[in-house]
Amino acid sequence: MEVNQVQRIGVFVCHCGTNIAATVDIKRVLEAAAKEPGVVHAEDYQYMCSEAGQQKVREAIKEKQLTGVVVCSCSPRMHENTFRGAAQKAGLNPYMVEIANIREHVSWIHKNIEEGTEKAIILTRAAIAKVMLNAPLQAGQSKVVKRALVIGGGIAGIQTALDIADAGYEVDIVEKTPSIGGRMSQLDKTFPTLDCSACILTPKMVDAAAHEKITIYTYSEVEKVSGFVGDFQVDIRKKARSVDMSKCTGCGVCQEKCPSKKIPNEFNRELDNRAAIYTPFAQAIPNVPVIDRENCIKFKTGKCGVCSKVCLAGAVDYEQQDEIVSQNYGAIVVATGFDTIKLDKYEEYSYQSCPDVITSLELERIMNAAGPTKGHLERLSDGKAPKSMVFIQCVGSRCADERGKSYCSKICCMYTAKHAMLIRDKYPDVDVTVFYIDVRTPGKNFDEFYRRAVEEYGVHYIKGQVGKVAEHNGRLLVQGADLIDNRRILMETDMVVLATAIEPNPDVRKIATMLTASIDTNNFLTESHAKLRPVESPTAGIFLSGVCQGPKDIPETVAQAGAAAIKVVGLLAKDYLVTNPCVAKSDELYCNGCSACEKVCPYGAISYEDREVNDHGIREVRRVASVNSALCQGCGACTVACPSGAMDLQGFSNRQILAEVDAICR
């Protein structure tokens, strides 16, 4: 423990050229400071932050054996670190420095020199009063586990994992479904270049699976997270696949022979059916089926067992149990992606009642060669080829009521142009009409792409939201208005495609709670700073990749995935983390164990334990709070929640703030 010694304070007043000196009488500030008890040194200089100015501070610390330094200068937000560094170089603990802000808060706003000087003196006194109570603080260290966890195995998760792994760190991907690939694996082509989605995604999936630093847990979910930046402890539940991954050859016979084949196929947006034992799609990684136990006859009735009989590898294992994998990670990336919103509240578009009204994602599957119609564009009601198609934009996006989402889903304008173009290309006899509110195409080659749809492919764009879609003589009647021509539109068409709003994967709420990461009212994860820290969650060690943070297209997602990866790599490259020492600290002798602090901590940094304390000779086991200084960010919410004053904030302690109050009110 530091021996309590009499403080020896040095005060350094900066002129900041004439920035301060013009409206503050520096000499009087110096004189007033010198008279304060504890002040043993006071000097001024033209530019305290200059090398020469810092030199003065360093020299005075050494010569006068200063125990504390007050610099009267510009805002601490500007140069606090500069002077802390100077103090450290001179052997003084950097947290023994306080700044009196006499520029932004004094000289720049008060034109009257009398007034300015008086206020500068008071602020200086307050800083002296505070520094008298400062205690040397040591930045702590915490170990960094050199392994990252990526939650979600879509393109965002895969790209992040690949980038981290390429930098040489171990990465685990946890994917809820039986295969990685995510939404992108469901897409047919991608804008604005019209590459085949599978063609560009599959190699990445293969890379990830083959990478020696990457471990993929599919059909798995994160169950529990504890710990903090640098060392999270995570439990992953590997759901029972009922198929032995090490034995299965991926031949697919089991799926063919399975008698239970009437299960809606999630991968094809439930437009066709799959078997109870299935791999979601042909390029699935791993290419090992899972048994959907809810729909499997064997699991439901105990009879059947066909898959086991036909499996030559003997891989089917009905006895398999869920398995919990516990692993430590230095960083966690959330890449949980999105889904489309439910359309049950949009009766006017007849989505529920007409099979020929589909969502864009359903169209992707219809257009895809592996989809429910083997890639043939046809009406789901009667299998006929359409002659006319209508696309409706902004279904559920930009919506002020509870039916939809307030935000723009961002990707719809572009994929609709893509769809229209592909249809016109492959089926030139199909008329394509797009009803839009605005066409939003910010992005490289995006507007050109949209214009091509109009100019080269003859897609009709009509400004005006559609009012109603109804079945009519076996076709669909679309009622709208052309806002530019100011004319009613009543057209019959064969298919209607709804550009349905996207929303974060509903699981994100649960995950955010586990990670103590914050989410906004739309369930998107909040970034630490909208502009400057867009891939970091406010919770240290948690990073964001892809649509879980906000609507994004593929190029943006991949870019953000790379950004998240580099932030993770930057973290994992360190052996230890230096922690901010201005954190909360609980005095066990005053702690009541009431948990009020724990409840207001946004970082889960406070935990309780039963500990024997020695309260002036009374030894007893008490439930007391302790703060994990690696997690604590130093907001101080706990200090006020604590009624007994057991919880205090280092660097902004109760006594320090009270001393400032006293000095100001003197």
Binding site: N592, G593, A641, S644, G645, R655
Partner: protein
């Protein structure tokens, strides 16, 4: 009911369900019963009492009792159970060390009200009927039971116990709604001008002798070391040296129990100067109810207290000024 409670307590002692009983011990003036521990059936037989003068809320005693070996049987009146729950929620007591008998209650009497009615030299009080029959050295006196009720009983929270192992003399969900609106007096004060309010509180709080009875009796004030006994905020003061300190003490105390106070009324009951301290706590309760939704501390053991909770749409602090304008 006293006999029934005593017999049940004896049984539980004898069958070793509990090792001690926390109840009330007969006072020597007929009204000054004290909280007490009983270790044997004999002690119970000799001294146990339960009547309208058992006002003391035994919940807080469970903090100490709970630290001892073995189970303690505690008698809790309906309103005491709220305090007990709140203490449970704050991990100050252990449920597993407690056996709770919820006791029926017809309201507790305020001896100061009896004395204020001019009844002096009391030798014994018979509180069984609707009229109190008081024997005094100046002769026999009478007054209606209702008129001698404690302030807290005039705004009874109801007769339902929030937590118990068994009930004696009380039903599972007894309705006996509040006799009056407990916020009437608060509203009345709110409607005064700031000057009048200041004068009211100045005259009340200036009586404070900083004896800490309110704090020490308060089940929500369960800090091992109160900020006013420690120097965490340079706040250690033993006695009033300035009017400010009376206000400071009472504002901070009310603030620290805001959202945790069950409105049990012990503070006002024990104040030797008769300061209506419950009006401070009720002000917070009223504000919390109107601004953040109805909340009754001690009704459960898992809800977030209003001050450790928030919503995005909470009222802005400026609402104080806006209300003031009306």
């Amino acid at each position: 009911m006293q006999r029934e409670l005593m017999n049940r307590a004896k049984e539980l002692l004898i069958d070793e369900t509990v090792v001690r009983v926390l109840g009330w011990k007969k006072g020597d003036l007929g009204y000054n019963h004290e909280p007490a521990y009983f270790d044997s059936p004999e002690e119970l037989e000799e001294n146990f009492v339960y009547d309208a003068f058992c006002g003391a809320n035994l919940s807080k005693y469970m903090i100490e009792a709970g630290k001892q070996e073995g189970k303690t049987l505690v008698f809790l009146k309906p309103c005491d159970t709220y305090s007990f729950n709140q203490l449970l929620k704050e991990h100050r007591i252990k449920r597993e060390n407690t056996y709770i008998i919820g006791v029926g209650c017809r309201g507790n009497l305020d001896i100061d009200k009896i004395k204020a009615a001019g009844i002096k030299g009391i030798e014994s009080v018979d509180a069984d009927g609707d009229m109190l029959k008081v024997k005094t050295v100046y002769g026999e006196k009478e007054m209606p039971f209702e008129e001698a009720l404690l302030e807290r009983c005039l705004a009874c929270k109801g007769k339902t116990h929030m937590v118990y192992d068994e009930l004696i003399g009380a039903g599972e969900k007894e309705e006996a709604g509040p006799k009056g609106n407990r916020f009437d007096r608060v509203s009345e004060l709110e409607s005064l001008s700031p000057e009048e309010r200041f004068a009211f509180w100045r005259s009340e709080l200036s009586k404070c002798i900083r004896c800490n009875a309110c704090r020490n009796a308060c089940p929500a004030c369960s800090c091992l070391k109160c900020v006013f006994d420690s120097n965490q905020f340079d706040s250690n003061q033993k006695a009033n040296a300035d009017t400010f300190e009376e206000q400071m003490f009472h504002i901070i105390r009310a603030f620290h129990v805001a959202g945790r106070c069950t409105d049990c009324g012990e503070c006002s009951r024990v104040c030797p100067q008769g300061i209506p301290l419950h009006l401070l706590n009720r002000k917070f309760i009223k504000d919390i109810n109107t601004l953040y939704g109805e909340y009754q501390a001690g009704e459960d053991t898992d809800s977030l207290a209003p001050l450790t909770n928030y919503t995005f749409e909470d009222a802005e602090p400026g609402i104080v000024a806006e209300r003031g304008r009306k």
